[in-house]
Symmetry: C2
Subunit: 377 residues, 2 copies
């Protein structure tokens, strides 16, 4: 099962990579370096979930692979552009086992490459008019417009929670945010686009959308769990990064709701502390510069007192959060919520597939449900 899923994912990724390479080559020679840099993230090891979902939904409904190729390519370009910008916003250091683009090439160029990819993503969407006709092409454009808007709104919800120091959040708040931020652009948009370019079986779209939404939420919860429990080597990025950054996850919110008042206050105090200086780039640069300053110990202590932000989050804080989560059974809770969503996703998929023949596409989508909750990266 796992091999079949991997093979399907890999093939989808290869097809889309070839198309991205072709698009990049078609650009002006004056932009050669821009296009080289655009390929950096797509070429690093990745799952290729979005293209595979788009191909599979199209194939499931009897559409051809060629019909889905431009949409799958555009979705992959959007995804990688968002990754570049997210990495800048979060000050992330590693992405897919290598330094993030802004660490490697500087913030201005990285930001700009992301914008370039957003621009490039429009091209396959317009080629679509010739591949699947104007009506379906416009539908896919609508889907992409909705996707980018939903994900911008979802991410802003999260930034607002951080700004307002909001921690009294319910599972449904988290799920609404994740629906907008992750489910729409990782699952819903690829599935809806795949259905649009298949140009058949509009009756099944409702169930397919339900499938995508539920699986998208399950996927993000499992992602949060992997961040807590996975190893850096497997994740391709630092583990427990969410606890260092103070991200609102289902696991953490459950723990905060489960503990007593005093313990809750202690945990929120930890979470309200700023992430350590060494984890933000300006401060890292400052500390590096300071290492080279010839100061005696007393001066150094005085300097540190002013320059290092007080009470920043420490390894002990992160360990403390983790202990509280374990004691409250929060990872088990999150795993249960993820499984329930995956089960309902499977039912919605069965409903959508009713009367359709067996096919690699159908098997991929069915196995993807299991893969989503059981994967290790």
């Amino acid at each position: 099962m796992r091999n079949e899923v991997s093979a399907y994912l890999e093939e989808a990724r290869e097809d889309v990579l070839a198309e991205i390479r072709r698009l990049a080559k078609a650009g002006s020679p004056h932009g050669a370096r821009l296009y080289d840099l655009m390929l950096e993230y797509p070429l690093r090891p990745a799952k290729g979930l979005r293209p595979a979902l788009c191909f599979a939904t199209c194939g499931l409904l009897g559409g051809t692979r060629d019909a889905a190729l431009p949409s799958a390519t555009a979705l992959e370009l959007y995804h990688n552009a968002f990754l570049i910008h997210d990495d800048i916003e979060d000050g992330s250091v590693l992405r897919r086992h290598s330094p993030t683009l802004h660490r490697h090439h500087g913030l201005p160029i990285a930001l700009h490459v992301g914008d370039g990819m957003l621009a490039l993503a429009l091209e396959p969407l317009l080629v679509n008019t010739k591949v699947v006709g104007v009506a379906a092409a416009l539908q896919v454009l609508q889907i992409c417009a909705r996707m980018t808007r939903e994900s911008a709104e979802g991410q802003m919800m999260e930034l607002e929670w951080i700004r307002e120091r909001r921690w009294n959040l319910r599972d449904r708040d988290y799920i609404r945010m994740v629906y907008k931020k992750t489910a729409w652009y990782t699952f819903l948009a690829p599935v809806l686009a795949g259905a649009a370019v298949a140009r058949r079986s509009a009756a099944r779209v409702g169930s397919l959308a339900r499938f995508a939404t539920l699986l998208g939420v399950a996927f993000q919860i499992v992602d949060d769990l992997l961040d807590l429990e996975g190893e850096q080597a497997e994740l391709g990025k630092q583990s427990r990064g969410d606890l260092w950054e103070g991200k609102r996850t289902l696991v953490l919110l459950h723990a905060l709701r489960s503990v007593g008042v005093a313990e809750r206050e202690e945990l929120v105090a930890i979470l309200d502390r700023p992430p350590p200086s060494s984890r933000t780039e300006q401060w890292a640069a400052l500390h590096e510069a300071l290492q080279r300053v010839p100061l005696d110990d007393e001066q150094r202590v005085a300097l540190e007192r002013v320059l290092v932000r007080p009470h920043e989050r420490s390894q002990r804080d992160v360990d403390r959060l983790w202990t509280a989560m374990e004691a409250a059974g929060s990872t088990a809770h999150a795993r249960a919520v993820a499984s329930a969503h995956a089960q309902r996703a499977a039912l919605a998929l069965d409903h959508a597939c009713h009367g359709l023949p067996d096919s690699p596409h159908r098997r991929f989508l069915r196995h993807l449900v299991t893969y989503t909750v059981e994967r290790s990266r």
Copy 2:
């Protein structure tokens, strides 16, 4: 004349602002703050050149204002999104008389608001299918895709010149970069979109494109001159910022070509120095932090030696560059190139307008040529 141009610009800006406000309000309440922040740049005092060009071209060719409104709105959204991202990339401090968005709200939120505006720009482009029909709406989408690609390539050319420390550039290198980076998205795209939604007179599009290209190049050269000669109060941003940043402008490139070998080496040495620490944000933060450290004078000097980058560009360097430009007649050269482009733009416009009735749109476009070279901001 100037009043007529100003009134036309102002009216175009008002119409588009109302539309942007409407789009922002139609967003989910969960994104309320995102949409508030999206309005910040558009609401600051600005020319509104792109919407006016779109309305005027459409009106010139007999199209209605309603037909051009969605395209004009999308172009204004793209423009403001790019401004936010450019300000981050350049580390700019002021935009339109107020702090840049990232100075005001932090880099992550500013970057994200820019992405949100790029997403929002797709919506009026899709509404277009109902306003001007599918064919014209798709044409405008093609124009926007080309515009974003050209401007990404143009900006990358400039970043590459900086990275490679290239100074031996001819006027035509500069003009090719500016054609891509500025002319396409400030002039060519609004004019082509206005013509597309008017859905008439395809025969005139060639001359109109020529008009837009030539005027776009003239506009950028004058912008460079204003940066050198204008006052901060009028510009809404720091004056001579291009010299501090070491931007390749027609004026500067002319000076470098005009002076003798020894002087050229001296000027290039100045230009190869990094911009002063106080002009980059990380360094500004570091210096601010250092002000609060209790050090004696000797220690402070030692610290400065390590922390301040050696040989950074100074006010004296900027003055030296300016003197060399004046001595070489470089501003006069740039003004002559701008005027020649504007004159050819006027001829192309006359050709495009042949046989069309007099109208406020035609008068606006004609006066815009004069305005472009004579404006003071």
